[in-house]
């Protein structure tokens, strides 16, 4: 298969890559760009561990072709902290015990960010419904809810 030259904008920076058409955005982020925060836990769209933001919206990078992600703003977990300062959600996740094994954390935090960006003061139900696509086997979601609620009302 011939490789195509594509340009992706990831975390505010442009990069040029040559790749085959079937490569997913998840593979390219992890294997070509070394951004291993987004993870694969299922590969078929059920777990949410591969969630990244495209133009601010949470999408599953394991089912998105890299060539189709051109011309869009892609945000990964590595792009969340700015100038060495953690994003309030990252701080809250750590402070409220919302991370155990950490494998689901990247996708969970990014999806939570998109929820808060849409609605700065969501209800508990809205948060839980919004996060239904991010599976976590460790935490039972309790501390995750605490962390997102805390970040939403600006608790530090």
């Amino acid at each position: 298969m011939k490789k195509q030259l594509i340009e992706l904008r990831v975390n505010g920076e442009s990069c040029e890559l040559a790749m085959e058409s079937q490569r997913t955005l998840l593979e390219v982020l992890r294997e070509d760009l070394g951004l291993t925060g987004a993870k694969e836990a299922c590969g078929t769209g059920e777990c949410g561990a591969c969630t990244v933001l495209i133009d601010g919206k949470p999408i599953l990078s394991c089912l998105t072709l890299a060539i189709e992600a051109q011309g869009k703003e892609i945000t990964t977990i590595e792009g969340l902290a700015k100038a060495g300062e953690l994003h309030p959600l990252q701080k809250a996740f750590i402070q409220y015990g919302a991370i155990q094994c950490g494998y689901c954390a990247s996708g969970m935090i990014l999806n939570a960010k998109s929820i808060l960006d849409e609605n700065p003061k969501p209800s508990r139900e809205e948060i839980l419904k919004g996060l239904e696509g991010n599976l976590c086997r460790c935490t039972g979601y309790n501390k995750i809810l605490d962390a997102v609620m805390a970040a939403s009302i600006g608790k530090d």
């Binding site: 298969m1 058409s21 593979e27 590969g43 078929t44 949410g48 999408i59 089912l63 060539i67």
Partner: protein, 287 residues
């Protein structure tokens, strides 16, 4: 899991898309959201040599309302767009609810309604509301076009009447009659996310003068090899005053019209319960 290799095209118009389909025929598949296509390819259930993305064609994500013709939905409209669209929420609230139930936040951002219909899962949530709304699909191919009722579009589990050379370009939902409301009730297979165990949509048009039911439509998903209309049950309701006894009878008949393959006893029981609840909720909305 890797997606098997393929040749990729990104046409700039529907016509170009049709040309490509004409050229590659059954070796090609259309890409819209990708949430069904790539899962099937990863599992090796289908292995198209060619993938034709519609995402390069302009204006396929329109949702348009016309006071005579009703709602028109383009092939790249996502479930998320439908959930939030003011016209859909106002005039077809139970369709909006059904779309909100589908998948997860991420899947709703990616998956298109048309893609979902073309996937033709027997448990597709949007299908039951669309069936009771007597939805039609407009299909085009290189040398022409046709319009087909959604009812005829589903021909088997994951099988549609779509020709390999056709592209669905529009979902057409006719304007509902006055004094009409719909309800969508569902149960999950397990826990709170994922496939629907039973989905029941009911559309009722009531005569405001004598409170009889002028029109009744019952759509069911996940209880047969395709989403179905429970036509015998519908006839029980039509023209009658909807008292408890009639409603229960119709719900039971609807349940008898199902042919569930797995967990059949439970699915039939739940069909009965959900159809009843849907009828009652639709009636409530009309008041």
């Amino acid at each position: 899991m890797r997606i098997p290799k393929f040749e990729y095209f990104r046409p700039l118009s529907i016509e170009d898309g049709c040309s490509l389909l004409y050229k590659h025929k059954t070796e090609a598949k259309i890409l819209a959201g990708g949430t069904d296509l790539f899962v099937k390819m990863k599992k090796k259930e289908i292995l198209p040599r060619v993938v034709i993305s519609l995402n390069g064609v302009q204006k396929l994500d329109r949702i348009e309302w016309d006071d005579r013709e009703g709602l028109k939905i383009g092939p790249l409209v996502t479930h998320d767009a439908l959930v939030n669209h003011p016209i859909v929420r106002e005039k077809f609230d139970f369709l909006s609810e059904a779309c909100f139930k589908i998948g997860t936040r991420q899947v709703r951002n990616m998956g298109t309604l048309v893609g979902n219909l073309c996937n033709a899962s027997p448990s597709s949530d949007a299908s039951a509301p669309l069936l009771v709304l007597e939805t039609k699909l407009k299909l085009v191919h290189l040398y022409g076009e046709r319009t087909i009722p959604l009812q005829e579009f589903f021909i088997g589990p994951f099988q549609t009447a779509l020709d390999p050379q056709e592209i669905v370009v529009e979902v057409q939902i006719p304007k509902p009659a006055p004094s009409t409301a719909g309800s969508y009730q569902y149960l999950h297979k397990a826990s709170s996310v994922g496939e629907t165990l039973v989905g029941a949509a009911v559309l009722l048009t009531m005569d405001p003068k004598d409170s009889t039911c002028q029109e009744a439509r019952i759509g069911l998903s996940s209880v047969a090899s395709t989403p179905i209309r429970a036509k015998t049950a519908e006839r029980i309701l039509k023209g009658k005053r909807l008292e408890e006894k009639i409603i229960r009878e119709a719900a039971q008949v609807a349940s008898d019209e199902t042919q569930p393959r797995s967990r059949p006893w439970y699915r039939r029981e739940m069909t009965r319960i959900l159809v009843e609840r849907a009828i009652l909720q639709a009636m409530e909305k009309i008041r």
